[in-house]
C-alpha cells in the first residue's frame, strides 16, 4: 500500500508531534513512576512514526528510517527493562512508587 498518494506528509508529522507532546505531558503530570514510563514509551513511539513517515515519503528507495526505527525499538525495550527493575528497587527501598517521595537528592 502506498500512502504517498492519499495522505500528505504533513499529516503524519503533525500526528507524531501531537503524540510526542502528549507523552511529554504524561511524564510531567503523572505522579506514579510506572505511568511516567508509559509517557516515555509514547514519546519514543511518536519518534518512530516520524522516522518511518520520512522514509516512506522522502526516501522510498532506501530503508534507513526503517532500520532506525527498528533500533529505536530495541533500545526502548532495553530501557524499559532497566526502568522496571529500578522501579522494583525503589519500591523495595521506599515502599512507594510515587515520584514525590523519592526526592532525597535536594539542596
Amino acid at each position: 500500500m502506498n500512502l504517498q498518494a492519499e495522505i500528505p506528509l504533513d499529516y503524519l508529522v503533525v500526528l507524531s508531534t501531537i503524540v510526542f507532546f502528549i507523552g511529554l505531558m504524561g511524564v510531567l503530570i503523572r505522579r506514579n513512576l510506572i505511568t511516567m514510563l508509559m509517557g516515555i514509551e509514547l514519546m519514543l513511539n511518536a519518534v518512530n512514526i516520524n522516522f518511518v513517515a520520512f522514509n516512506h515519503y522522502l526516501f522510498p528507495h532506501r530503508l534507513e528510517g526503517h532500520f532506525f526505527a527498528l533500533i529505536v525499538m530495541a533500545i526502548a525495550a532495553a530501557e524499559a527493562a532497566i526502568a522496571i527493575s529500578l522501579i522494583i528497587n525503589i519500591y523495595r527501598q521506599f515502599a512507594t512508587v510515587s515520584v514525590d517521595d523519592v526526592d532525597e537528592l535536594k539542596h
Binding site: 511529554l24 537528592l105 535536594k106
Partner: protein, 635 residues
Amino acid sequence: MDFSYTILILVLPFLIFLLIGSLGSRWRPHLSGLLGTSGLFIITVLAYVTAFNYFIHRTGEAYQAIEASQLTWLSFTDDLIIHLGILLDPLSVMMLVVITTVSLMVHIYSLGYMKGEAGFARYFAFLSFFTFSMLGLVVATNIFQMYIFWELVGLSSYLLIGFYYERPSAVAAAKKAFIVTRFADLGFLIGILILSFNTNTFDFARLTDQHGPVIAQPVTAMFMGLSVTTWAMLLIFMGGAGKSAMFPLHIWLPDAMEGPTPVSALIHAATMVVAGVYLVARLFPIYHFSSPGSLDVIAYVGSFTSLFAAVIACTQLDIKRVLAYSTLSQIGYMMVALGVSGYGNEAGLGYMASLFHLFTHAFFKALLFLGAGSVIHAVHNNLMTEMGGLRKYMPVTHITFLVACITIAGIPPFSGFFSKDEILVAAFEHNKIIFAVQWLVAGITAFYMFRLYFNIFWNSNPEYHHTPHESPSTMTIPLFILAVMSIFSGFVPFHELVTSDGRPLATEFHPMIAVPSVLIALAGIGLAAALYYRKNSRPETIAKSLKAFYTMAYRKFYVDEVYLFVTHKVVFQLISRPAAWFDRHIVDGTMNLIGNSTVSFSGAIKEMQSGEVQWYIWYFTSGVLLLALMILYLT
C-alpha cells in the same frame, strides 16, 4: 678635606638601634646600655673631630657648605629627584656637636637613672633611634630628606614619651604630642610642596643661594594678597612651630613630661624642640629675601610664646612642668632672634644670637632636667610642695642646679648671659616693643627659675619617707660635665663660626643693654628669694590678691580646654560623627546589601533543586522550547 667618615655618625646609631632592638631582650640589660653609650661616645668623638676639621679650615672669607655624601634615592623625572645626603656647613656642624654631646650625657645618665627598670634595652634602642633621626635631620641636604627625618624624630618622640605604656596618662601624652606635631607637619608638607613646585628643586644649596634662581628671580604669583612664596614659608613655619611648641601648638610639650626625665632632657629641652629653630635658620635666606613679612610673624609668635610660657611657669608646682614652660619660653627667645634678624655682616646679629642661644640653652637646659631627674630619683615625687632643704642631702646636684639656674637667669660670666644679651641687642635694634617684652621675660625667667631652686633646695624641710641621698656617679658625672659646659660655652667665639652668611661678625659690648638685663635678672632672683628662701606666707597672700589672674595662669590659660572643646564639639560632632554614620550605614550598608541580596537570591533559587524529577524535566524541556523559539524567530 675629606669628610666621608661623617656617614658613620648617622649609620652607627641606626645599627645600634637595630641591634639592641632585635637582640636586647636576650641580653642582660646592662649590655644594651653599654652598647648604646659606647656607640654614642664614638660618634661624639667623630662629631668633635668633624667640627674641628671644619672650623679650622676656612676657604676664602666664608665657610663653604660641603656635601660629604650624596645618594640618589628616588628619581621620578628629570626635575623630581630625591637625594639623601650629608651636608656640612657651620649650622649643621654646630648642631652635630650639640646633639651628640647632650645625647652622650643623657646616655650615661640613663645608665644610672633607668637602672632596674623594665624595658631598659628598649629604652636604649629608642634613644639610639632618636639620635639617628635627629642627626639625619640636621645634616639633610634637601628639604625632603629633612621632612623624612622630621617625621622619624616625631615617631621616636612618641615612642619615648609613651615609654611607660602601661600608664594611661603617658599614652595620652604620647598621642597628643604625635597628633599635634603631625597636624603641624601637614602645613609643613604643603609648604614644601608649594615651594618646590614653584622653584623646581628641593635642594638647600640651590634654594638658599643668594644669587641663585630662587631668590634672584622670585615667583610673582599671588594668592589672597600674599605672594606664593610667603604662603609657603608661613606654612613651613607652621611645621616648625609645631615641633618647637610655639603658641598655639604648644600644648603637647608640658604633657610630654610623662616620659622618663632623661628623655625630657634630650628631646624636649635640647634637641627635638629646637628643630623648628633649625628649620627657620636653614631656610633663612629665603625668609629674608623673598618673604620678609613672615619673619615679622615669627618674631611676634616667638615673643608672645615666651611671655605666655613664662607667666604660666610662675604658678606651676610640678618641677618638670616648670622646666617645660621654661623651654617654651627660651625657644621663644630663639624665634624672636631669628625674626628680628637681617642677613649678612652686622645685620645678621639676630641669626647668630639665636643659634648661640640654641647652643648654650641645650647644655644648661639639659643640666636642669637631669638635675630635676636626680631630685625626683631621690625623693620619688615631682611636686615642689613636697620637697625642700635638699641641699643638705644632695650637694652635687645642688651646686650644678644652681649653676644652671644662674646661667638661665643671664648673670655674667656664665654662658646664658652672653647668648641672651646678643638676642636683646638684636631685638633692640629692630623692634623696641619686642625688646621690652623680652627684657621683661628675662626678669620673669629669673624669678620662676629661682622659685624652683629655692623650693627644692631651701624653703621647708618636710619629712621624707627615707632619707634622700646623692645620686650615683653615673648620674652626677654628666651633671658635672654639663655644668662645666654651661659655664664656659659662653666663651666660644660663636660670632666667627656660625653666622647668616658664613663670614665672621664683629660684636661689641653694649653696656646700655647688658646692664638693665642683669639688673632685672637680679631683681627677679631677689623677689624669688624674698618669697621662697624661707617658708612664709607671702606667696599665698600674693596669690590671693591676684586671684583670677593667678587661677588663669595656674590653669595654663585654659588653652587645653579650648582645644578639647573644639575637638569634641566641632570635629567629633560635626565631622567625625557624620563620617562614621556614612561609613557604617552607607559603605558597610552597600556591602551588606550586596551580601544579603546574594544570600536571599540564592535562597530563592535554591528551591529549584528540589529533588523532584518532574520539575527538572519541565525545566529542560521548556528551556529547549524557548531556545528553539529564540533561534527560529529572533535570529
